[in-house]
Symmetry: C2
Subunit: 253 residues, 2 copies
């Protein structure tokens, strides 16, 4: 296995650029931190270009690594630290090629996100959609980038289990409505319909919105119905990831 010690190595300098969204988009690849995610990626036969492993990582996962047919480099802790955004850099990192799901079928249960900005919220909702057996997630414009390490960390690998696509929400909503699949927006407004009044269903598109502003009014105007989750106490609102979980499991129950 080739060894890279210095942070100024040309390959490492190239990879470090992938911490920025513009380079991920330009180059069509991204970084993935930590054993759990890398293992999920390989299990899902995702396109892993190469692996970087520290000495410590090699000691821990050497046997597992020997079974993988992926190019790998041994790197110093310093190199790993220069690529990681974690306080304690991981022992292993993957470099993956971005693969957009091809033609997706907008039927079944889908989660649509409108300008959700917090990476942890986006990732958690992808993970919850997976757990709830949803059929896919659409990230509308202005959402946190799926390929940032923070989002990936929160997904816990769920992006390998269901399609997560980037599309303009109005077109997607139209695709559902043209098939008579109900599209529900969410609002913090008691004029909307309490979610408990809507029956679970096998086909549904659920739109969750920005942390501060909710779903944009232009989007709310395109839905069949807008729902709210009652607030019984004095909190002003729910965290959007928690709200999405409550609603997705409602549609399953």
């Amino acid at each position: 296995m080739k060894e890279i010690q210095g942070v100024k190595n040309p390959l490492i300098k190239e990879l470090r650029k992938l911490q920025q969204k513009k380079y991920r988009e330009k180059e069509g690849r991204y970084l993935m931190e930590g054993f759990h995610l890398v293992e999920e990626a390989l299990r899902a036969k995702a396109p892993v270009e190469l692996l970087l492993v520290t000495h410590k990582g090699l000691a821990e996962w050497g046997e597992w690594l020997d079974q993988q047919s992926v190019t790998r480099y041994l790197v110093s802790d310093e190199v790993m630290k220069s690529l990681s955004d974690l306080p304690t850099p991981p022992g292993i990192m993957g470099i993956l090629t971005k693969t957009e799901a091809g033609k997706v079928d907008f039927t079944g249960r889908w989660l649509l996100l409108d300008r959700v900005q917090d990476p942890g919220n986006v990732g958690t909702m992808v993970r919850t959609a997976d757990a709830a057996g949803f059929d896919g997630v659409v990230l509308g414009h202005g959402c946190a980038d799926l390929y940032s390490t923070k989002v990936l960390r929160s997904t816990q690998g769920s992006q390998f289990h269901l399609p997560v696509v980037q599309r303009a929400l109005p077109e997607v909503i139209e695709a559902f409505r043209s098939q008579k699949i109900p599209v529900y927006g969410t609002e913090l407004n008691e004029a909307a319909k309490g979610f408990q009044e809507v029956a679970p269903t096998a086909n549904v598109a659920l739109v969750m919105g920005n942390e501060g502003q909710g779903v944009a009014s232009e989007i709310l105007a395109l839905t069949d119905q807008n729902l709210y989750i009652p607030i019984y106490g004095q909190a002003e609102s729910l965290n959007v990831g928690v709200a999405a979980g409550i609603l997705m499991y409602h549609f399953r129950s």
Copy 2:
């Protein structure tokens, strides 16, 4: 208003220690960052000892500040930065006295947390308990400190709306059981009971556990029944804050 410019000012040095849990416990006070939380604290008549405000904060909230009868200091951006754990320090910070709820009544709906370590998760669950109209939250040993700025940020002020107490869980569980109030643990185990099979109820204690390990087996052994949330897809688990939201709203529905 007195002005403090230097980070070596004795008061500021004293306050900076409150970033550490041991000093918060020793001194019985804590820092609270940002206008929204400080406003909630004053509205709830929480014991705010003093306020620190930057020039920018003064420009923004000067009128509001004039209506508050709390000692305040004008501080430099440098001072605020030295006290804050945010990348962009807030324009206002409060120093509050810790107040433990006195005798609490373990009836109604309560959320019990067993070694939940992520500050964001603890805070989000307090916020969700408030939204769901729960009557209180118990933090068992090993939970993230309620008085850390990260937890406080995620609570969004909900700790002023319902009692949040630190107690040993076995005693609390016994208090509920002695009143015939059902205590439900949570498990990632299909041998447990699916939550949809349990009816909503006005009296309930729900125990959520550590992110990696779940609820400790000693605690699970003390409950009336343990519940699980079905996983319909390929995710290994749900985020604990999302799971708590699904269950708390289930008990309300």
